[in-house]
Symmetry: C2
Subunit: 225 residues, 2 copies
């Protein structure tokens, strides 16, 4: 039974990695599409999101089947419950990549990135892709040092998020209301994507350390001061 | 054993209702504070959010304990897993109420509601409170007719969300960039709050119908067209 459980867990882990890889492809394409107004690339992201959703549902079904058949307790049980939570966060990260792609499609043939914020959003995009790659590696290797990398990248994204608000609220901001709306939404999406990654990383860290209570809070930069 | 499980489920249900009640208080206070620039009321919401977080964590612990001790299978197992998901959504709804309160606090002594959007946000706020009340009733009574009420209110909120974007993107919009940012964020928070409620309602409906696959999708209005 123990052997069967171990195999099931490896299956769960493999599927989480697979979903994280799809999320990484999605955020990479979405942020590149956003930066270059590439509507075909944006369409690919929008099209592919249902695959992530389906895989998350299938993983949840597997986790529930494991709970039912193998009745894990203690740490084993928490691993399976954590997998359910991680799958929900990854699914949401896929949704956010899709939102960035949708912004690109809605503005096309205009640029989705407002003037004066191009380099900021390129940086945010690259950091989100980095976060997603490291998260995939963390899920694959359980190398907890990656958690620090993810947090550090998230801190940088939070700073960039604040800088977007500073920019649009400064006297020098010439953007029309639509540019202000786009900057606000796009910045929030980029920031939330990394928040979810931090939240997943905490859950993985929890599985090693047993410190469950730290797993719900994310640092969520709400709005400009 | 069956009797013990039944009592445990009642405990879980009671706690979900309790958290939903706290969320209703939070969104009611947050939207009133937002409408009247009442920073003291906003502070109450911000202060109280950690109570919701703590209760959600305690509920998760109880659910895991039930899984470990009582090893439910089939529908019983799915009820417990659903409780974990519902708790996560309620916790997030509490966070969103807090975000609305934080917007109020950040703008104080200025009004957080941008000029020209007062009645729109008052309506959105009232609808969010209604959604939260109906959701609490749904969790308490399992009266699935409430699901339709929640969906209908969510549809109205989505329409208002779209109307906020139409307003700020219209030629008549006189708001500064800060008003545009506030309108964008506040509208998104109001809209997401109801989305989460719909998602919880679907999970409750699932528990009655067994249709699991409909439980992850939320209608998420991303941005203005």
């Amino acid at each position: 039974m123990r052997e069967v459980f171990h195999q099931s867990l490896e299956d769960v882990q493999g599927r989480l990695v697979e979903i994280a890889e799809l999320v990484t492809v999605a955020i990479d394409k979405a942020t590149r599409a956003f930066g270059t107004s590439d509507v075909a690339l944006a369409e690919e992201v929008i099209e592919a999101d249902s695959i992530i959703d389906d895989k998350a549902i299938a993983l949840d079904e597997l986790a529930i089947e494991i709970l039912a058949r193998q009745q894990p307790v203690a740490r084993d049980l928490r691993i399976v419950v954590s997998a359910l939570r991680i799958s929900a966060s990854l699914e949401r990260m896929g949704d956010i990549a899709e939102h960035i792609a949708q912004l690109t499609r809605m503005r096309f043939p205009e640029r989705a990135i407002p003037k004066g914020l191009k380099s900021t959003f390129l940086q945010m995009g690259e950091l989100d892709v980095e976060v997603s790659r490291k998260l995939t590696d963390l899920l694959r290797t359980e190398d907890l040092s990656l958690t620090d990398d993810i947090r550090n990248a998230d801190d940088k994204i939070d700073d960039l998020h604040v800088s977007v608000f500073e920019k649009v609220l400064s006297d020098s901001w010439q953007g029309e209301a639509s540019a202000t709306v786009d900057a606000t939404l796009a910045s929030r999406y980029h920031e939330r994507f990394a928040d979810h990654a931090v939240s997943v990383a905490k859950k993985v860290a929890y599985l090693s350390t047993g410190d469950w209570t730290t797993s719900t809070d994310t640092i969520d930069v709400v709005a400009p001061a």
